[in-house]
Symmetry: C2
Subunit: 347 residues, 2 copies
Amino acid sequence: MKEPDVNSPLTLRDIARQAGVSLATVDRVLHNRPGVRPDTIRRVKETIARNSFQPHVAGAELARGRARRFAFVMPSGPNLFMQQIQSYLGEMSGWLSARRLAVEMVATDVFDASVLASSLEALAGEYDGVAVVALDHPSVRAAINDLVDGGAKVVTLVSDVPSSRRHYYVGIDNIAAGRTAGALVGRLVGPRSGKVAIVAGSQGLRDHAERIFGFNQVMASEFPALNVLPVLEGRDEDERSEQLMSRLLGRHPDIVGLYNVGAGTQGVAKALIDSGREKQVVFVGHDVTVLTRKLLLQGVMDAAISQNPGHEARAAVRVLLALARGEPILSEQEKIRIDIVMRDNLP
Amino acid sequence: MKEPDVNSPLTLRDIARQAGVSLATVDRVLHNRPGVRPDTIRRVKETIARNSFQPHVAGAELARGRARRFAFVMPSGPNLFMQQIQSYLGEMSGWLSARRLAVEMVATDVFDASVLASSLEALAGEYDGVAVVALDHPSVRAAINDLVDGGAKVVTLVSDVPSSRRHYYVGIDNIAAGRTAGALVGRLVGPRSGKVAIVAGSQGLRDHAERIFGFNQVMASEFPALNVLPVLEGRDEDERSEQLMSRLLGRHPDIVGLYNVGAGTQGVAKALIDSGREKQVVFVGHDVTVLTRKLLLQGVMDAAISQNPGHEARAAVRVLLALARGEPILSEQEKIRIDIVMRDNLP
DNA sequence: GGTTATTTGAGGTACGCAACTCATTTTGAG
DNA sequence: CTCAAAATGAGTTGCGTACCTCAAATAACC
């Protein structure tokens, strides 16, 4: 086996010659076109593998002709997350157009399964790839599977639908996020003992349920001195979260820790500040926004668990592109890490 | 201005027509070739800007012909960091060869300025891009500048040489890393007061000096109850670090915190364990290795500040490629973040 | 004005691959 | 063996750009 020569790399022509077939046959094998004997397919694939041959991306892309279209299906309404993703995609516009990629945003009510499902159905045939912030619901699952069957590459973003046949999930491991939150609360509370409150949007949401699960896991096994109170369900609304939290703080003067699983941060923080106990209670929440940034700087929040939205946007695009091209995915690169953000490492 | 049509994007031919010049002239402008009047250059560039035209990467890459060669200049010896970088580059091999990129490792004594400088000089003309773990020294700076003048793209990795004309630095903000370490030590120590020890390789190393600076900054301003002891210089050697640390622990029974700035972790940990005070002393260090992972799991170390080596390797390659192609760099994507790793979020 | 230097145009070739056509060979069934 | 079906070969075209040559047009100079 000869040394791989940088300046005269193998081409499909070389593979054809070495496999003893014509260029046309190699092309048929490479693109799963019919009319090749199984034995020949094997021979060609072996030759490709033996030389660890990779088709030149540039050549393939150029010959392909048409541009690729990707759709990002995101929550409608005045959603900060959506705005962030959009702005990060905007920063990539040069990168995208240099590769003849078109990325379009599709706003829909991702919390209504049937609306989301029909939005997804409408994309069939139009796009080469779809990234979707998905609800885990049978009709959504079916819509995703239909897209996949139609030849589109599908990536779930932030919130997964593991039972579907989506090709990839770009987002954090929410159980690990909950565990991390638990460890932070426990360690920052220190030697004190007392009660720990949890506020979530709803335990019916997969993300939230998983985070709570992880949080409780760590609490039970590592911080027996801390007593976790029943979960408050604030529906991610500020007002409701504030009411519930105020009531809880009033009833339990020995609360030393607080984990806010989802949104509604404004309300939770207000209740805490109004109680005058923001310095005694360790407060850990999610995501770095204008609000949580302020709370961290004020010392009201002690840490935020963050999933870099810029990374999520770029990873989704890269994964869709790699899938469409048939390239391998650098899974470690695309893995969304759980960032612990405290006052001193605010990005 | 017409809508950008996804399926028939502009080409150089369109730009030429619209600017009222020939393809050859556009080519001359695009590649800074001589023989074009300033006025014509302006006109062409304006047309390109007006249409926010981006040359098709695939076309350019294909027409280019020769492959690109990048060199990674890294510390020689049984160095874990180098092994990691190499293994991460190995994982990218498919990605690299599909783009006809050749990445080679060059091992050298990066701690000896003259050796490093001559290693760099030897690369001149051979490579399109160079990533180097560099010492900040006049002769190294000169060697980097020579490479740049020779047309190579140069990226400093992990350790910067800001006074050189390197095109980019891929690595963390070490002052911020020190600040983060300080915040962690301070908060994990909690309400206790006492002394804090610092072990570094050498205060002459830029990285270490910057980390110590950031650490002291936070200590002074936020944790007045903690008294920082003078820095021990362990030269990143286990044995020496252990001796110094043992002595210090013996002399100061009220040490509550310990920041290990560089390597020599094995020695520092041994001294701490031998003193039997590993549970009382908050120990924060750098990097997730086999060793620090074990120490974190054992509860000897409380947190590690980590700079994802996989991300560093990939970012260096991407930046070199973007520079070589003349593409914009997605600076946020390439920014190496400071990861806080505790037992419960070990990667 | 003529002469030279500079600028521009026109065109070609090549890069590696996708996608296609059409002719030819091989295979397998009867 | 024959004959149709299946498999394969040989070839073409075009994608968008880089890089090159040579001729033609224009500008600058005396």
